[in-house]
Symmetry: C2
Subunit: 175 residues, 2 copies
């Protein structure tokens, strides 16, 4: 199997979503069949062998990677969503952003006490979103065995907020 | 392999998102490892053997099913999103809802002329969202070979809007 340079397939878009931000656009990687397969294979390599009951993904780009990994791990799939989108009883977790704050929700019955959990998102930036997702899982008694992101912006030091957790990413940018 | 009754794992939530609406909650199906695997296997059975270049999914629950199917079909994955979320040059398509209207966007370079496309969403209701996604693909010269949804609310007659297309769903509700 030829290993693909995943980073070379990510498009860099300046000034998105606002001026001065360089956006790493993964859609150019995902639309390529070989890029897509390699992405999922390499993400799986980072977590294979772990005993995982639930793969938890953060809306909405986290959803992209969660199900293929859940299938390979024999796990179920759990959605963490923005407020008001989950129909049954939820728990919620607020977190602060550079300006203002956000809230994430998860169904109360999504995780059972003692379950082993892998949390997935597309991007690790400041770590605030991921920390909120970890809190949701732990509130329900889940054990966060692993945190996995496709892209990590290391210069934003998101790992500092996630100390003590097994945090992995496939592609890193240091500026 | 024991066949699972997928419908029995879907939770019915009354009065969501508003009074009088019965919401079919697929999260209870997806969190179950066997339910998740059967869902993807059965969706794949509906499209296997087709030559598909791109699997297009509609934000955000469409994303859940698209990548495992794209991997099995050897296709790439394309995102159709709400306005302002895709960073590069997009095309857009407005469509009407019961009250007001919505818009969907797709990257201009997501589909090449003549590519064979499978479009996926979680739900087929009135068909408006799916019709808009079909228009986006066709504007770029893609050929919509198949439309696949997990749940179809047959009483909303979404298929009437999608005449001439190969439309399939796994689970139907007639009220």
């Amino acid at each position: 199997m030829v290993k693909i340079n995943l980073k070379s397939k990510i498009r860099e878009v300046p000034d998105f979503p606002k001026k001065g931000i360089l956006f790493y656009d993964i859609t150019t990687l995902l639309k390529d069949p070989k890029g897509l397969k390699s992405t999922i294979d390499e993400m799986y390599n980072l977590v294979k062998g772990k005993k995982i009951d639930k793969v938890v993904a953060i809306e909405s780009r986290g959803f992209i990677f969660a199900v293929p990994l859940a299938l390979k791990l024999g796990a179920g799939f759990v959605l963490v969503r923005k407020p008001g989108k989950l129909p049954a009883e939820t728990i919620s977790e607020a977190y602060t952003l550079e300006y203002g704050s956000n809230t994430l929700e998860m169904h109360k019955d999504a995780i059972e006490e003692g379950e082993s959990v892998l949390i997935i998102d597309d991007l690790l930036a400041t770590g605030g979103t991921m920390a909120a997702a970890i809190n949701l899982v732990e509130k329900r008694g889940g054990e966060v065995k692993s945190v996995l992101c496709l892209v990590e912006l290391t210069f934003l030091k998101g790992r500092d907020l996630l100390k003590g957790y097994d945090v992995q990413s496939l592609i890193t940018y240091d500026k």
